[in-house]
Symmetry: C2
Subunit: 136 residues, 2 copies
Amino acid sequence: MKSLGQQIVVDYHKCNPEILNDVAAVKRAMREAALKAGATIVTEAFHLFNPYGVSGAIIIAESHLAIHTWPEFGYAAVDLFTCGDEVDPAVAFEHLKQALEAEEFTAMEMKRGIMNSHGLRFDSHKPAPALAAAVA
Amino acid sequence: MKSLGQQIVVDYHKCNPEILNDVAAVKRAMREAALKAGATIVTEAFHLFNPYGVSGAIIIAESHLAIHTWPEFGYAAVDLFTCGDEVDPAVAFEHLKQALEAEEFTAMEMKRGIMNSHGLRFDSHKPAPALAAAVA
């Protein structure tokens, strides 16, 4: 089925806990994952928690990559959401697997915004004059 | 099953396209959703695309909320990822449904980082001396 976006939801296990607790290393791994996948980085937000754990998201022109780490469990929850055919989230997945030194993972692939032949599943019936004017 | 986090994956349809293309309105709706759900906002990143569409993520102390909008389809893809028992992502879901004026939606609820009685599904076998020292 065609869709606007695709999303890989990954749980990385048995990661290197020191990497998971290093906000600079996590940010670098996420940025590299985005670029290797062919994405264009737009903006980002990362945070190191007290006593430990990193959360962050990178907004890419083609959607986003997000990560949350639990160093005490060697665990990281990652979402790789992309749209278009030019970015391959599987490349980002592989890069992060190596960068976090994950020995195990579980992953799920989802399509977001499923399209039918007329457009989306639900056709909007609301007028959008301002938007139409802005686009015209 | 117990888990470290929970995630609601929502596709909002038949939204108000003008709201979906207003980065200030989308950011406000996301911030309100986070606060109403009981979350603590840590940092955020939002972007308005040319010709239209908004992407953004809010890092909360309890994980993240992310959104991507396609005003031309009246569609928004939202992820509400929280951890702990004190934040209710369902409250964020309801708030965004109203704020985006979504008439239809599809949603899925997932658990992230499933715990068994010993901890996570995979016990880390890697030593973490630096982490242990930092925590001590």
